[in-house]
Subunit: 112 residues, 2 copies
Amino acid sequence: MAEQVCHKADIMAIHDAMDVLNGKWKISILSTMCYYNRRRFSDISTDLAGISNKQLSKELKELEQNKLIERTVLATQPVTVEYSLTEYGWTLQGIIDDLAKWGSTHRKVIMG
Amino acid sequence: MAEQVCHKADIMAIHDAMDVLNGKWKISILSTMCYYNRRRFSDISTDLAGISNKQLSKELKELEQNKLIERTVLATQPVTVEYSLTEYGWTLQGIIDDLAKWGSTHRKVIMG
């Protein structure tokens, strides 16, 4: 009989990861800070063509609650708000890079 | 002045990847086939506690349309339908493994 290893814990771990990273925008948003280090709201909005300000606000708030990003208010006139990855957020860098590579190949595949 | 490399293509590539892998279930579903090779509908439904049959059907259909999985009908009595990763689907294996590792650490982080 074939070996039947139980992968329940692995599948649950993926579900936990996707629970934080879910939605079509979260990983893209994290990637902007991964590539540019610090990023303002308006920069991110330009990076991600198609996201509404309301949606971007919501996603940033959730990422902040999950301690993946931090919000820094600079005492400029007018104030500037910058977003960056926390040390914990940076642990996703390898996955983000691999997804970018995969997505780039995928684009070629679907474009024929 | 700091170097300003443009990462528009990388960010777009991630968006393309997440367009196919979006939703909280897709990567979990792919992972069941990655871990067990061939998987029946009812197995996947058990692997992923909480998904409805209707939702699972929809996700499987989308993954099949995107050529990441294939559906095999076995001539048993009654017929058995099995799902497995295509060669293209297997290109996601590294990302799936890394997400499982990250998710497992994340669970420890949120559990304190």
